[in-house]
């Protein structure tokens, strides 16, 4: 039915992640986990898929003594999101 929709984005969790990152400069793993209300393992898996598609860049570093993973939407990810929204709009004739 929705064959024109990007399969990477057409998933509840991945779409949530990308939509959150669209409105932010960058977000930590902790923030995404809290806002998407999902498990660390599942979030990690979906982020990995988004990273492999080139939609999200992931940076690992330290905040004080603690390790931190920071995610940022890439320009490819932003374009894919814009295309996704355009396609969705065409389905509902907006």
């Amino acid at each position: 039915m929705f064959k024109d929709l990007d399969p990477i984005l057409h998933s509840q969790l991945r779409l949530s992640i990308v939509s959150l990152l669209v409105g932010l400069d960058e977000a930590e793993f902790l923030y995404l986990r809290e806002k998407t209300n999902t498990s660390a393992g599942n979030l990690s898996l979906q982020l990995d898929k988004l990273q492999k598609a080139g939609y999200v860049s992931i940076k690992k570093g330290f905040k004080g003594k603690y390790p931190v993973t920071t995610c940022k939407l890439t320009s490819k990810g932003l374009k894919a999101f814009e295309r996704y929204v355009t396609t969705i709009k065409s389905y509902i004739h907006l």
Binding site: F2, L5, P7, H10, S11, Q12, L15, S16, S19, L20, L21, V22, G23, L24, D25, E26, A27, E28, L30, Y31, E34, K35, K63, G64, Y84, V85, I88, Y91, I92
Partner: protein, 192 residues
């Protein structure tokens, strides 16, 4: 492909975008801090230029110390924010780039004036640049009050052109009050 219908997709996007908008940018601290720093710098210069007390005039060469104090407090706050924040809003970046650009342009003009003979134009340019920066950033992050205060700053800058340097200093301090301190306090109250 996951069985996600169009309405669900739209709802997911809307919720996430709304959620991301709630991330505070915390710019109020820098607005208030630098507003006070610049206000003090110009008001002290105004008093030094209009007062015949030699002690105050002698101190005029030391008023610049407020800038490293501002730099130290900004840097300390930035480190504290980095430790606390789990997400950075786009507004954070807008403010960082816009005000870094403003500072660079102002320092360049200030140094050029030191070596040239156009001191009288530095403060009008300062007020105009400050007003412009607040106006543009206010427009980008949808802060209508900042847009208005930015216009006030630019108007003060234009009016300053007609005045002597001491009066320019007084108006520059007012520009700092209107373009930085007042919007900063409003942002703090609104918790943005």
């Amino acid at each position: 492909m996951e069985n996600l219908d169009v309405k669900q997709s739209i709802k997911t996007i809307e919720q996430a975008v709304q959620e991301a908008r709630r991330v505070p940018h915390g710019a109020y601290y820098y607005f208030i801090l630098w507003g006070i720093i610049l206000f003090l710098y110009y008001i002290l210069n105004y008093f030094a230029l209009t007062n015949s007390d030699p002690a105050l005039s002698g101190l005029q060469g030391w008023f610049w110390v407020v800038f490293p104090i501002g730099g130290f407090l900004s840097s300390r706050r930035s480190k504290q924010d980095d430790l606390k924040e789990t997400a950075k809003s786009i507004a954070d970046k807008v403010y960082l780039f816009a005000f870094s650009g403003f500072a660079f342009a102002y320092i360049t003009i200030y140094l050029a004036a030191e070596f040239g003979s156009f001191n009288y134009i530095v403060i009008p340019i300062f007020c105009s640049l400050l007003g412009l920066t607040v106006f543009v950033t206010g427009g980008i992050v949808n802060e209508r009050f900042s847009i208005i205060m930015g216009i006030v700053g630019m108007l003060i800058g234009a009016y300053c052109l007609k005045l002597e340097v001491s009066q320019q200093c007084f108006l520059a301090s007012l520009a700092c009050l209107f373009t930085c301190i007042v919007p900063g306090v409003k942002m703090k109250i609104q918790r943005v």
